[in-house]
Structure formats: structure tokens, C-alpha cells
Amino acid sequence: MQNEKLTFQTENLDGLTVVRIAGELDLEVASQMRSVMEPLVELSDRKLVLNLRDLKYIDSTGIGILISIVKARHSRNAPFGVEEVPLTIQKLFDMTGITPFLAASPNA
């Protein structure tokens, strides 16, 4: 739906799931984000990448969700990363220190 605040588009490639998130990721849509991501996080035999190119807004709520995903994937020994991070969002990732945890392992 075009009027939705946060939308997801999932692409399944060979051994890789890419989820494009578009819109605003804030407290209002945090539970929506968690429900969409949960089943994907559990697929530990696939690499998981979030494409953030069309993400317009994130705050500590969204960064908190990313931290949960990082930890859940790590405990499953499954690769996770983000790509195409907009500048304003990269700045928040750098400030909070989450950046090094979001780099998808290069050989995956």
C-alpha cells in the first residue's frame, strides 16, 4: 500500500535474502518490522541483507531492532548486513557504534 509508513520488499536469490525497507522506521512501526524480520532471521542457512536505500528515517528504536537482529544472527552463526545506507542514517550508525556489526561478511 502506497500510503504505508514502512514497506518491505523481499527478494530471494541463491543463498541470499535481500529485504528492501522503505519509509520511516520508528516506534509506531517497530512491531511490524519485528514480525516481518523474525522468520527471515531464523533462516540461518541463508545470508540476510537489508537494503536501506529508501529508508528515510530511523531512530534508536530501529537501531535497537537492528542490534537484536545482529545478535540473533550471530547466535545462529548466520551472516547479516546492511547495504546502500543513506548518509543521514550512516551518521547515526557511526554515532551509536553499530556500524562494525552491520558489515555483511565479505565472503558470504
Binding site: 516506534l27 528515517y57 531512530d59 542490534i67 545478535k71 551509536t96
Partner: protein
């Protein structure tokens, strides 16, 4: 826009109203000719204060209100006070903010970044705790107005 007034916005303390606050903030800051990046900084900081009022101030069964007042201090200085009338912040002065820097993946935890981001993104952050909490955020415009 000159230093001629305060805009006050009162909304229910629910997550679905925080983006309305961001939009009003955007309108005021854009009129004051803050840069795109400065406005993004303020949006995040104000949302953090609002999220805290939604999450920590009130009983979930009885949500209260958030009052956000925007005061144009000078043509280049905006003060935003986010107030709730819920339970107070305890021992605010003792609170230390921390980031994920230098931590291992087993040490990091979600949560606890809100106050840090407010301080990192704004010029001044003051927390007053009395009947409820007021978080007073101030930002000065750096980008020069081209007249």
C-alpha cells in the same frame, strides 16, 4: 521567522503521534532556514524524547499526553521542550549514556541509546524532573542564511 513566539503541540502519548510532532518540527525548522542535516538531527533527538514519554512516562492502561513546545529563541536558535506528566525520571544526574563503541557482539544490547543521541545531535540537553519529565533540547543553526 523571528524570535516572536512559541508554538505548542499537545498529542496523546502514543507512538502513532510522534511523526506528527516530527512534521511540525520540520515546518518550523525549515522556516528558520536550518539545513537539511540540522533538521534531520533535530527530528531524531525530538523523537527520542517523545519515544521516552510514550514508553516510560505513563501506565500502558492510562496513557497521558506529550506537550512539545517550540520556542524561537533567536532567528537562529530553536529550543524544543518535550514534557510529560507521568512518572519521573529517577536520579537523572547519575545517568550515564553509552554507545556500542568498543563492545563485543555479546556485550551490545538494544536500548539505552536515546539520551546519548539527544546529546550527540543537539547543542544543549537539559532534563528537568518534577511532576513528570521535561527534556529541553536546543539547537543553533550553523548554515548561513543567504540573503
Amino acid at each position: 521567522m523571528r524570535n516572536d513566539g512559541t508554538v505548542t503541540l499537545t498529542v496523546p502519548a502514543k507512538a502513532e503521534f510522534v511523526d506528527i510532532i516530527r512534521l511540525t518540527l520540520y515546518g518550523i525548522a525549515a522556516k528558520m532556514k536550518f539545513s537539511f542535516e540540522e533538521i534531520e538531527d533535530m527530528k531524531v533527538a525530538v523523537s527520542e524524547a517523545c519515544n521516552n514519554a510514550v514508553l516510560h512516562a505513563y501506565d500502558h492502561s492510562q496513557p497521558g499526553q506529550i506537550e512539545v513546545s517550540f520556542t524561537i529563541m533567536n532567528e537562529d536558535r530553536l529550543q524544543i521542550a518535550v514534557s510529560d506528566y507521568g512518572v519521573s525520571f529517577e536520579q537523572v544526574s547519575d545517568r550515564t549514556t553509552s554507545t556500542l563503541h568498543g563492545k563485543s557482539i555479546d556485550e551490545i544490547q538494544s536500548g539505552g541509546l536515546g539520551l546519548y543521541l539527544m546529546q550527540a545531535l543537539m547543542d544543549e540537553v537539559e532534563i528537568r524532573s518534577n511532576q513528570g519529565t521535561s527534556v529541553i533540547l536546543t539547537k543553533r543553526r550553523l548554515a548561513q542564511e543567504t540573503v
